[in-house]
């Protein structure tokens, strides 16, 4: 009996536990709030969308979109290339014209500047030449004057010392041939001519 009773008791306890758990879960379900209709629709829509737009469909769409996008990009790239070429040629032409005009203008200015500079250089050279010529003339005149003065100075000096020069020359040339005896007559004549003066000197000196 005991074992039977024990088994009965255990089974009753387990059944009571299962019933308690079921009751609790039932009560939880009953206690949660009920969803609104919109939410239910949304849930349903989502569920449908998930059903329709599944991964395969999405991949298909993605592939199509990529192809279409590539096509559009290719077409537009061609147009863009044509436009770009046209724009480039126009830009080149414009640049050529602008640059040509600018260059011509600049060259004109440059040429004008060079012409002015050349003219200035020519004027400067002319002035320098004139100045040099004037200085040359002045120098030549000064040199001529100085040479003339030096020449005159030498002539004057020669003339002043000419007596000594000739005397020296005579002395060197015929000094040994001059005999005092030959000069006696001249010496006596000179002494006679200056006799009074010499006599006066002697008397006053003595």
């Amino acid at each position: 009996m005991t074992i039977w009773w024990l088994a009965v008791i255990l089974v009753s306890l387990i059944s009571a536990g299962i019933a308690f758990i079921w009751l609790i879960s039932k009560l939880n379900r009953l206690s949660a709030p009920a969803k609104t209709k919109t939410e239910q629709l949304l849930d349903a829509t989502n569920s449908d969308v998930e059903h329709i737009f599944n991964d395969e469909f999405r991949e298909e769409l993605r592939n199509r979109g990529r192809l279409h996008f590539e096509k559009i990009i290719g077409e537009n790239a061609m147009f863009l290339q044509q436009d770009l070429r046209l724009t480039t040629s126009q830009l080149n032409e414009y640049m050529k014209q602008e640059l040509g005009a600018k260059l011509r203008e600049e060259f004109s200015k440059y040429e004008e500047s060079i012409t002015d500079a050349k003219q200035m250089a020519i004027d400067s050279i002319e002035k320098t030449k004139e100045t040099i010529e004037e200085q040359r003339q002045q120098l030549a005149q000064q040199m001529s004057t100085e040479i003339e003065a030096e020449k005159q100075r030498l002539i004057d000096r020669f003339e002043q010392n000419m007596a000594d020069i000739i005397n020296h020359y005579l002395l060197a040339a015929i000094g040994k041939q001059i005999d005092l005896s030959d000069q006696l007559e001249y010496i006596i004549a000179e002494l006679d001519a200056n006799k009074v003066a010499i006599s006066e000197d002697i008397k006053h000196g003595a």
């Binding site: 003339e159 005397n167 002395l171 010496i187 006596i188 000179e190 010499i198 006599s199 000196g205």
Partner: protein, 167 residues
């Protein structure tokens, strides 16, 4: 004074000549005095040799050098000449000969002063002619001075020659 009538011989020209003659006369005078004091029997020195100048001086002035009075007069005269005679300096380009100087001295003593002494100098740079220097003045009768005085003449001559050479 006793020696006033004496005159210098033409061989005595310069102050040097006069001094030499004076010294010679003094030596002679001394010799004669020594000879007079000599004691008989002692040796006597030989008579000093007299120069041409002294001989000429004694002959020209008729002096007897054995007489003390004449010697005294001559000594006094030469002393007076050495101290007071006028002196003139004359220079030539070369050394004059003795004959030349005698003629010159004769002229000076006849024309200027009988007692004048002439000192001779040498000045080669004058080339020819002579210069005279007294106590106060200097006379230049040289060829150099002649050139200087006639410089214009020389210049004109040179300029004329230069012009002829140019043409």
């Amino acid at each position: 004074m006793a020696h006033e009538h004496l005159r210098l011989p033409l061989s005595v020209i310069s102050q040097g000549d006069a001094m030499r003659l004076r010294r010679e006369l003094a030596v002679l005078d001394e010799y004669i005095k020594q000879a007079e004091l000599r004691e008989p029997g002692t040796s006597i020195k030989a008579l000093p040799k007299t120069s041409t100048s002294l001989s000429e001086f004694t002959q020209d002035n008729h002096l007897n050098m054995l007489k003390e009075e004449d010697r005294a007069n001559a000594t006094e005269f030469l002393k007076s000449i050495s101290e007071h005679a006028p002196v003139i300096h004359i220079s030539f380009a070369s050394d004059p000969s003795a004959a030349f100087m005698r003629k010159l001295a004769a002229w000076f003593r006849e024309s200027i002063d009988p007692a004048i002494l002439v000192n001779v100098g040498l000045e080669p740079s004058i080339a020819a002619g002579f210069t005279i220097r007294t106590l106060n003045r200097y006379h230049d009768f040289s060829l150099r001075q002649q050139f200087v005085e006639h410089r214009e003449l020389l210049l004109n001559g040179i300029r004329g020659t230069a012009k002829q050479a140019k043409t």
